[in-house]
């Protein structure tokens, strides 16, 4: 038997660790919202933040001065702050800690571990490896991965990054390297990680640290490569690449740079420097500064939470609607929160629901003329179904400004002389009279409204392993689960709408972030049409009747798409409506229109270019212009400020003003005593809402490193990412324009049910439980019978009551939204 040499360095382990900690960087066309510190989620929130800070140098909280300013102007309540200190350190320590928290000076400087080892090249040998290696490294990877910007593509095949490079180097009169050694190592395939690290670093003990230093000097590119390695399908033009290959090539470039720099033979870094370095993941000592920040963060959060909870407790019960005019189900998305309020306000006999926007139908969608499938359900689900589109009637607009020919030499000469002059007119129009151009992206184009979808199963036909369409049983299962989950099993109105959502914007590389999170950041239009079709099917209804869901024959379902940027709703298949329902539908449309206008008025309070005091109708027109304007970096504000998720009956929230900050999931505990329906709801809502919330949280608190910075100088790289300038690293996260209004508080999940049932439900799925156990989401349960509150902490529920129950009420939302562009507290709405 062979004895292994005892080694401190394990290559596979290090690569795995890098994969885990590098930013999660999907190509921009399919942005995925995720907790940016997902790799730390197995630890308690504050502990994880402290560690991430000390290891990677992230700023994980607001600045201390910001918190202290909040305390001064009441955004952080003193009572809440004191309560938290007392519960943490005891009554006798209150004064002591208060003084530290509010007055003690902290330097606040974080010396991160990342970079410590590799920095010695610069400190001791005055060689700046980054500036020698990064530009050429980024350019080569980008050209290799490029999805269609370059006109002349990477010529040397697609057999893996290193072998393509080898092919280039072998058959070329020039080289990416300046010296022979690195070139030889590559061509002769003597470039395994350990071989290269031995040349560069020398001491095995420091290999891991060195690689972390190196890769976290450009987390964007490394994160993108790591993501593509794991998800090769995320690129339309597939590319073979691994993180290891990127590192190997980078090490080769470093060796080459050092060969040029030192005229003599040089020895590895750690032979020259006799220093003991901390391991990257060695224990991180506790630190009073982080303690202070964590207390302030809690106080900041609970001041807000208490306000919300008081609202929930004080809101009055609502009389049951006797004659329902129509029903409508929206996505749980926070942007639908206000629209639902307005619909109920305009037509008090209407009833609204919230449920994840894929409407419990999961499939891939294939538009006509396309070779690709698009997943339209939550990201963790892998669907087995395919829906195809036929008889499309619209065509894609072309624009020569994006044509490769305009960038050629001879054709470019012709283009500049002819269409060049046309551009100035287009530019003029885009400023003084913005209209739809090829730069405009809209969710309504996702599917042609009049096309035919293959929803009914056509037998055992499959394509790429996917079943085309759903069988009757499969439909019944999905429809019944959906209705039971939102608590709608009786009293159907004569028309019910399923409204998915998507968005529109112009000149926006982050367009994918604004569509429906429950549809993998695609518009929910196909899902809305599919679920309506299923629920309209008489055979499905017959089966539903057997399990106690009675849908009257006169009831019809209609799908639709809410454009959250333009505040427009597009309805599908209106032709199926019966005469009576069509009349009602036309009336309902007016209700929708009015509600949408009011909704755009409420949204406009955040937009400087629009005067919120204008009439709703005029504001709506301006909002439409805003979405087609090339110069508008904020077509809508997406999920900014989202910080609540409320799972329960509409009664709980109907009479309170939540300022578009809540994901609302309809759920009726009374028909689900043992929480069977609650389980899938929490399994879906927890990662989706928590992911969105924490993506915003970290993009906001450290916008320079965890966010994408300002989007104004962004340069599109290879069609999958953005960077600043041409030599920059890819920027992960969200740009400042999307997060500037966000208050970085953790999501508060509020569930209406009995605490013991909820406890059982969350414990059932370990990944869901981790979110709550480690406090990445705070969880409150509202007891449905006596409306008392329970807070989930340290694995169990204990009673909770807000410190301050004062809450204001208002008669008119319109005057409230006209009053300020800042975040608003919770208000009780008086019903007149």
């Amino acid at each position: 038997m062979e004895f292994y040499k005892e080694s401190t360095y394990n290559e596979i382990n290090v690569l795995k660790k890098l994969q885990k900690f590098l930013p999660f960087q999907a190509p921009l066309k399919d942005f995925v919202f995720q907790n940016i510190l997902l790799s730390f989620q197995d630890q308690e929130f504050h502990e994880a933040l402290r560690k991430a800070s000390s290891i990677f140098g992230y700023k994980n909280y607001l600045k201390l001065e910001e918190f202290r300013a909040f305390q001064k102007n009441g955004v952080i309540s003193n009572e809440v702050l004191e309560k938290i200190i007392v519960s943490k350190y005891g009554e006798e320590q209150l004064v002591f800690w208060l003084d530290k928290i509010l007055h003690k000076e902290y330097k606040g400087k974080i010396n991160s571990r990342i970079g410590v080892v590799r920095d010695h090249w610069k400190e001791h040998f005055k060689i700046d490896l980054d500036s020698l290696v990064h530009p050429i490294l980024f350019r080569i990877i980008c050209s290799y991965l490029d999805q269609g910007i370059s006109i002349w593509n990477f010529p040397a095949g697609n057999n893996g990054f290193l072998s393509s490079l080898r092919e280039l180097e072998k058959n070329s009169l020039t080289s990416f390297f300046k010296n022979d050694r690195a070139k030889k190592l590559l061509i002769e395939d003597k470039c395994s990680l350990s071989e290269l690290l031995e040349i560069l670093v020398g001491n095995e003990k420091n290999y891991e640290h060195y690689l972390f230093d190196q890769q976290f000097a450009h987390p964007g590119w490394s994160g993108m490569v790591a993501f593509i390695e794991m998800n090769p399908d995320s690129l339309l033009d597939k590319k073979k690449i691994t993180l290891s290959e990127l590192i190997q090539f980078e090490l080769l470039l470093e060796i080459d740079a050092l060969d040029s720099y030192f005229t003599d033979i040089w020895s590895p870094l750690c032979h020259k420097i006799k220093l003991e370095f901390e391991g990257v993941f060695d224990p991180v000592p506790e630190n009073e500064y982080f303690e202070v920040l964590s207390v302030l963060q809690e106080a900041y959060e609970w001041t807000y939470y208490d306000n919300v909870l008081s609202g929930l407790l004080k809101s009055s019960n609502i009389e049951k609607i006797t004659e329902k005019s129509f029903q409508v189900a929206f996505c749980i998305d926070d942007r639908e929160c206000s629209l639902r309020r307005y619909i109920e306000q305009v037509d008090s006999n209407s009833e609204t629901f919230g449920t994840p926007g894929h409407f419990n139908v999961e499939f891939y969608f294939q538009p006509e003329h396309s070779n690709f499938y698009t997943k339209v359900c939550p990201a963790p689900i892998t669907p087995k179904f395919l829906i195809k589109e036929y008889e499309k009637s619209t065509k894609v607009k072309k624009d020569f400004h994006f044509s490769n020919r305009a960038n050629g030499l001879v054709l470019g000469w012709i283009y500049t002389h002819t269409l060049g002059f046309w551009s100035v007119f287009k530019l003029f129009a885009s400023i003084f009279k913005p209209s739809k151009t090829a730069s405009f992206v809209t969710s309504s184009k996702h599917m042609d409204p009049t096309s035919i979808l293959t929803i009914d199963s056509v037998g055992e036909v499959s394509e790429s392993g996917l079943k085309i369409g759903f069988t009757l049983e499969e439909m019944v299962l999905r429809v019944s689960n959906l209705f039971q989950s939102i608590g709608l099993t009786e009293n159907f109105a004569s028309t019910m709408y399923f409204i998915g959502h998507g968005s529109s914007s112009a000149n926006n590389p982050f367009y994918a972030t604004m569509d429906c999170g429950a549809c993998s950041c695609r518009p929910g239009s196909v899902n809305a049409r599919v679920i309506s079709f299923m629920a309209n099917k008489p055979e499905v209804r017959a089966e539903l009747k057997k399990i106690g869901i009675h849908i009257p024959d006169s009831t019809q379902f209609i799908g639709g798409l809410h454009d959250t940027a333009r505040d427009q709703i597009l309805f599908y298949d209106e032709g199926i409506l019966s005469k009576e329902n069509l009349i009602k539908h036309n009336e309902n449309k007016l209700v929708f229109l009015h509600a949408l206008q009011l909704n755009s008025k409420e949204r406009s309070r955040r937009f400087m270019s629009i005067n919120t005091k204008d009439s709703a109708e005029r504001i709506h027109k301006k909002i439409l212009t805003r979405t087609v304007s090339l110069f508008e970096p904020r077509p809508e504000l997406d999920h900014a400020t989202a910080s609540l998720c409320i799972v329960g009956k509409r009664n709980l929230t109907k009479n309170i003003f939540l300022d578009r900050r809540a994901f609302l999931n309809s759920y009726d505990y009374s028909i689900d005593p043992d929480g069977k329906m609650l389980l899938p709801i929490l399994n879906a809502a927890t990662p989706v809402c928590g992911g969105i919330n924490l993506n915003y949280y970290f993009s906001k608190v450290d916008n320079q490193n965890l966010g994408a910075g300002t989007k104004l100088p962004h340069n599109v790289m290879g069609l999958f990412g953005v960077s600043n300038g041409i030599d920059g690293d890819l920027r992960p996260g969200l740009p400042i324009q999307m997060v500037e209004l966000h208050d970085p508080v953790r999501l508060l999940m509020i569930v209406e049910h009995f605490p013991d049932v909820v406890l059982k439900v969350i414990q059932e799925n370990i990944t869901t439980y981790e979110w709550y156990e480690n406090k990445w989401i705070n969880l409150i349960v509202v007891h449905p019978e006596n409306k008392t509150l329970f807070f989930f902490d340290k694995g169990r529920f204990s009673p909770y009551s807000p410190t301050d129950m004062r809450i204001n009420s208002i008669d008119n939302v319109n005057t409230l939204v006209e009053s300020t562009h800042l975040n608003l507290p919770v208000y009780l709405l008086n019903n007149n």
Binding site: K59, I110, D130, H134, R139, S143, Q147, I149, S150, I151, W152, P155, L168, N171, T174, F176, A217, H218, G220, L236, N371, F372, V396, D399, F402, A406, N407, G408, L409, G412, W413, Y415, H417, S423, V424, L427, I431, A438, V441, N507, N508, P509, L630, F631, D702, Q704, N705, T710, L712, P713, N715, V716, M717, L719, V722, N724, G725, I726, D729, Q737
Partner: protein
Amino acid sequence: MEYIIHFFILIPLVGFLFSLLLNKRNEKLISGVSFVTIGVHFIFSLFFVSIWLIYGMKQIDFKEFSIFRSGNYDFYIDIHFDVITMTFLIVGSLLTFLVSGFSRFYLHREHGYKRFFTTLLFFFIGYNIIIFSGNLETMFLGWEILGISSFLLIAFYRERYLPVKNAVKVFSIYRIGDVGLILAMWLSHHFWQANISFKQMADYQSFNEHLSQHSLIGIIISLLIYMSAAAKSAQLPFSSWLPRAMEGPTPSSAIFYGSLSVHIGAFVMMRTFPFWEHQTSFRIFVIIIGILTSIFAILTSRVQSSIKSQIAYSSMAQIGLIFIEIALGFQEVALIHIAGNAFLRTYQLLVSPSVISYKIREQFYNFVPHQKTIEDSWPKRFEYTIYMLSLKEWNIDSIMYTRFWNPLKRFGNKLNFLTFKNVFIFFFIFMGIGFSLLFNDTLISKELLVYIPTFFAFIGLVSVIKAFTERNSVRLSWSLVIINHFFVALAISFNAHFDYSHILLYLSGVVVSGIVGFLCIQRLRGLEKWVSLDKFYGHSYEHPKITTVFFMACLGLSAFPITPTFIGIDLIFSHIHEEQVLLAFFVALSFILNGLAVIRIYARIFLGPHVKKYHSIAKRSF
């Protein structure tokens, strides 16, 4: 007509001065002022041009006023208007107007909103001065303004590493262009024995005799002008800066590097065309470089995988063609080409963020994997070689480094014995020698005397090289820049017909700015424990006021047109004799380097990632 032309420069100037006074939080007013100013300018241009066209398009040329006169030296402002100016006026005014309208909303809530619009107006002043300039001196005035506003807009995101680094890089190339103009002014001053205007230059008859006697000087003047033009228009070998300038907000990249700034080189060539029209060899030279630039740029453009660099290189290829058109004498063709290229690239850059959604949508429906291009039919070895060279941008950037900057750095490092404490000892020793020689020039032989100015200019050059390569002491570097000016002054003092008042004029700005800068450094050293030149410190984050004052001092010390030193530089050159080529070379090199050293000090101390890490700071690679 003449009287009206003033308004083209006055309007943006008034707008600029007014916008300096505005509160930086008042976005509406700040962008409103710019928008209205440039809008009025545009409408005014339309009126003016229509009237000018109706009344027969007569060339306008007049001497405005003299800024400084002494003997046959006359630094005067001269205004010129013809069809070239007209084209640049309409294109420039229209595009700046549109871009300012675009930016009003685009830059909403951006830190530096005011900085952006005031810089835009400042740029617009410089642009107008250049296109209306009637002589090299006036053009040089606008030239400097354009250079500084470019620097400010590239380093707009001054808290990040790459914008600052690239701004310094672009500034260094622009500075080479500046020297081309200065030397051209120097030579033409000797050539005509007076400061002359472009119109006089164009007057072929008057200098035809001259030219036959001094054909070499004529060619050199043309080459120097070409050097300036090539630097500004990113022709070979100065090309690599253009894509790297795309660091500011997209609209500023669009207007500067997509359209206006980058075509200024072409303007200079057209403006001086009558002068070099008869130099066939020079015209052939311009055509060859134009062809090379076009080929280089188009190949490089084809392999770019980032949208802005692709547009930049495509634009560069067209500018190469424009230079060819100018050299062939097709003025009108070139003018139309310039307008078309400027419009096209501005729009392409402004909509460049849309390229993801547009192309992904296109691919989603019409995906063709591994599209073949013409290059795939080439022999493999040839294809790979050209591809790799294009990806490396044909090593243009690294050649600049290894051939020019690195030797300078190595030389500078040899002077490490200099410290802030001992530098003044050396200074006084050399100055002492200099002065004793100056006042006792009868003691030395005539033959030796010829070399003395060159010797002191060399000492000046050495000191500024050290200033430029100093890694530690800010005070040493700053002092050496001042010392450089003194040695240049001393060197020139040995030349005949020398006038003390000229030296005084030259040094006045240097001394004042030097002292102000010094005070700023001292103040900062008092506030911060440690300031040096080994990396970027980013102190503008905490000390914006010191930053502004120090920046003004930097401008003064690098002979920017805010102190008399600006004229002084030109004046100093006029005292260098035609045959003192080495002296002129040393002084010119000093001039390049002292500007760079000063900007480097400014960038290192005040710009870049903030050294105190208590707030969110972007990684260096971002």
